[in-house]
């Protein structure tokens, strides 16, 4: 792996050398494939969700000003409410991701890493 095609001055030789067998072995491990799938499925779908939700909010602010001006309660209108919901969703996604990776990603990654160091 990590295949500097030119010799790099200054880089200590601690980097795994080209075609590192450790990395190769892990890459072929079905548990790694599982880790990769779990990670990608989660972060890609979450990214799609929050980007779409943010974009919707910006588009509404630009093109649906009548809708955004509707008062929900007191002086609070749809625009302010959706803005605050962006805060809520950002906090929520961060919390969900932390717990997801603690439960579903970290144990697998640690297992693979431990074996990778021994091999």
């Amino acid at each position: 792996m990590i295949r500097p095609t030119e010799t790099v001055a200054g880089s200590p030789p601690t980097e795994p050398s080209a075609g590192d067998p450790r990395a190769r072995a892990i890459a072929a491990d079905p548990r790694f494939a599982e880790l990769r799938t779990r990670f990608r499925r989660f972060v890609f779908s979450m990214t799609a969700v929050f980007l779409a939700w943010y974009l919707l909010y910006v588009l509404l602010s630009a093109y649906a000003r009548g809708f955004m001006a509707i008062k929900v309660f007191g002086s609070v209108n749809v625009a302010l409410l959706l803005g605050l919901l962006q805060f809520v969703s950002t906090f929520a996604i961060a919390i969900v991701y932390a717990s997801y990776s603690r439960r579903r990603l970290d144990p697998l990654a640690e297992e693979l890493r431990a074996e990778g160091q021994v091999r």
């Binding site: 792996m1 990590i2 890459a27 910006v58 602010s61 630009a62 002086s75 625009a79």
Partner: protein
């Protein structure tokens, strides 16, 4: 900018302000010297020894990120334009999800000191480090100049000193201090400066928020109604449209363009990226970004209270008279909350908030200088210019760090020079430009190298340079440089000074933007102020097209190894 009325009427706060400024400088200089003594190896300069905890680094990330533009700028924008200022702050926050989910942990596992380290794992060192180094330096200089010119006007304003000489001295002093923090303290010292600053900023904002809410008996509805009525704009103040309000199609696209650049730019900002390397492992990075999201989110909620509070208690008109850009909204509100101009409490609050703003500026410029000098030394010097075998690793490392310190000095000097030259210009837009460049040049390369197997060196070069050139080029063709009237920019009323500067009659109808950098009367060839909506797709498409045109089997295969390292941490340093 006019001198503030409170400055003239009430000089007593000045001594206090200077005292607090000085206290901050003394404390941070002390911390910097102390931490430099504790550094063990030369390379601590880049990563501070990788020993910071998640909470510490989370606070430091917030400190690096919450610039004076966030604090004074957004509070001011909310005070002047209500809801539209709030919209800006949301982009700054949501952006952290890109960093959390897609970048931070993977970057920590696969890189060492700079953004280019991750690219260099798969791609050819020299061309890729050269490209990444160039874009890092460009982003940093844009951001630095915005902060330092802002510092010049702001500190003179807050201290109540006017005149050109004062501004120049402030810029030089800020520049000299930031060079000191970086060259003496390296990453460790700079991180502690960020932590001190972030705590001060949060305390300052919290005190003001509680005081504002207390004035309205903690009834947010009352605060909103008072802000709406005191703004002179009524309900429109709480709705979208006051700032990005023009009804023409371009200004709406401009708003969207800004929003996209803010969200995608954060995870490509060099001074944010280097922060991910200061902790021991990727789990700690996750913790620090989560802390940062919590701190930054709470902070922007507080700026909402501060901005609306300023509109309600000071009044939009009074804020605009003091400073047309609204930057003094927060300090003026502080004075009002403390008891008003001429009272001891008012002077104390004003001095406190002014020194918080000063600390904010100093810390952010130090973070930027550190990130860019690291890139000069580690990317350009060590891996592009230096050739031949290295005699001794330790000697080479010490030499590399010496180069980093020398480059911090030069980058600082360039930033001081450019800022002095640009001190009278309206450079607030440069922050948005820096975000747009980071999103167009850096983010495509980072994401594609991490997630796309077929990404190649040629693709990375295409993406970085095309994104960089597109973003900078479009700004040079935009209405911030060319101020002629157009459909989105109707003629503005000119002051006598502006008419003279633009070389037109005072009742001329040719000028749409009197603060344009190149010409007030020539119409801009590109209609948007924010290039992101065009330049970000250009960056991504160029990177993808370049990779498809020149495929590289070996670089494709190396992606699997990068993934193992990024996801499991095997081989991570």
């Amino acid at each position: 900018m006019k001198a503030l009325n409170f400055a003239a009427a009430e000089p007593s706060h000045r001594g206090l302000t200077i005292g607090l400024f000085a206290a901050f400088v003394v404390i941070t200089v002390g911390i910097t010297v102390w931490s430099s003594r504790k550094s063990k190896r030369a390379l601590d300069f880049y990563d501070g020894g990788r020993a910071f905890s998640g909470l510490q680094n989370g606070i430091a990330i917030s400190g690096d990120y919450m610039s004076a533009a966030s604090f004074l700028g957004i509070a001011g924008m909310i005070a002047l334009s209500g809801y539209d200022g709030f919209l800006y702050s949301i982009g700054f926050l949501v952006a952290w999800l890109v960093a959390l989910l897609l970048v931070a942990e993977l970057l920590r596992n696969s890189g060492r000191y700079t953004m280019a380290d991750v690219l260099a794992l798969r791609l050819r060192q020299r061309p890729i480090r050269a490209a990444a180094g160039v874009s890092t330096i460009v982003v940093s200089i844009f951001y630095l100049v915005a902060q330092m010119v802002g510092a010049g006007s702001l500190v003179s304003l807050l201290l109540g000193v006017s005149g050109d000489g004062a501004k120049i001295w402030v810029i030089v002093a800020v520049g000299a201090l930031m060079i000191f923090y970086v060259t003496v303290g390296g990453m460790k010292g700079t991180t502690w400066v960020q932590i001190v600053k972030a705590v001060l900023l949060m305390v300052g904002a919290a005190v003001m928020t509680v005081m504002v809410l207390a004035k309205f008996n903690f009834n947010i509805g009352d605060l909103l109604s008072a802000a709406a009525s005191q703004s002179g704009k009524g309900d429109a103040f709480l709705q979208p449209g006051l700032k990005y309000g023009a009804t023409d199609a371009w200004s709406k696209i401009d708003l969207i363009s800004l929003g996209i650049a803010l969200v995608l730019g954060t995870a490509g900002l060099p001074h944010v990226l280097v922060r991910f390397y200061t902790v021991p492992d990727s789990k700690t990075v996750r913790k620090s970004v989560n802390w940062a999201i919590a701190i930054i989110g709470v902070f922007y909620l507080m700026t909402l209270a501060i901005g609306f509070g300023a509109a309600a208690l000071v009044g939009t008109k009074a804020i605009k008279t003091a400073d047309p850009s609204g930057n003094t909204a927060a300090p003026t509100l502080a004075e009002t909350l403390g008891g008003g101009a001429g009272t001891g409490g008012g002077a104390a609050m004003l001095a406190f908030i002014a020194s918080v703003a000063f600390a904010t500026i100093l810390a952010v410029v130090a973070g930027l200088t550190l990130a860019s000098s690291s890139s000069v030394a580690h990317d350009l010097y060590a891996n592009v210019f230096r050739r031949g075998p290295v005699e001794d690793t330790q000697v080479a490392e010490r030499k590399e760090v010496r180069v980093a310190k020398v480059s911090a000095f030069f980058i600082g000097a360039i930033a001081i020079g450019v800022s002095i030259y640009a001190r009278e210009l309206n450079v607030a837009f440069l922050v948005a430009v820096a975000f747009a460049i980071a999103a167009s040049a850096n983010l495509p390369a980072i994401l594609l190298t991490l997630f796309w197997k077929r990404f190649t060196t040629f693709g990375a070069k295409c993406g970085i340079y095309a994104g960089l050139i597109a973003a900078v080029g479009l700004v040079l063709l935009s209405p911030v440089c060319w101020g002629g009237t157009s459909s989105g920019r109707p003629a503005v009323a000119l002051t006598a000074a502006q008419a003279t500067k633009c070389g037109v009659a005072k009742d001329s109808k040719q000028v749409g933007n009197a603060t344009a950098l190149f010409s007030c009367t020539v119409k801009a060839p590109f209609p948007l102020e924010n290039p992101g909506v065009v330049s970000i797709p250009i960056g991504f498409l160029a990177a993808i097209a370049g990779s498809l045109v020149r495929r590289n089997k070996r670089e494709e295969e190396s992606h699997a190894d990068l993934e193992v390292r990024a996801l499991t941490g095997v081989g991570a340093e």
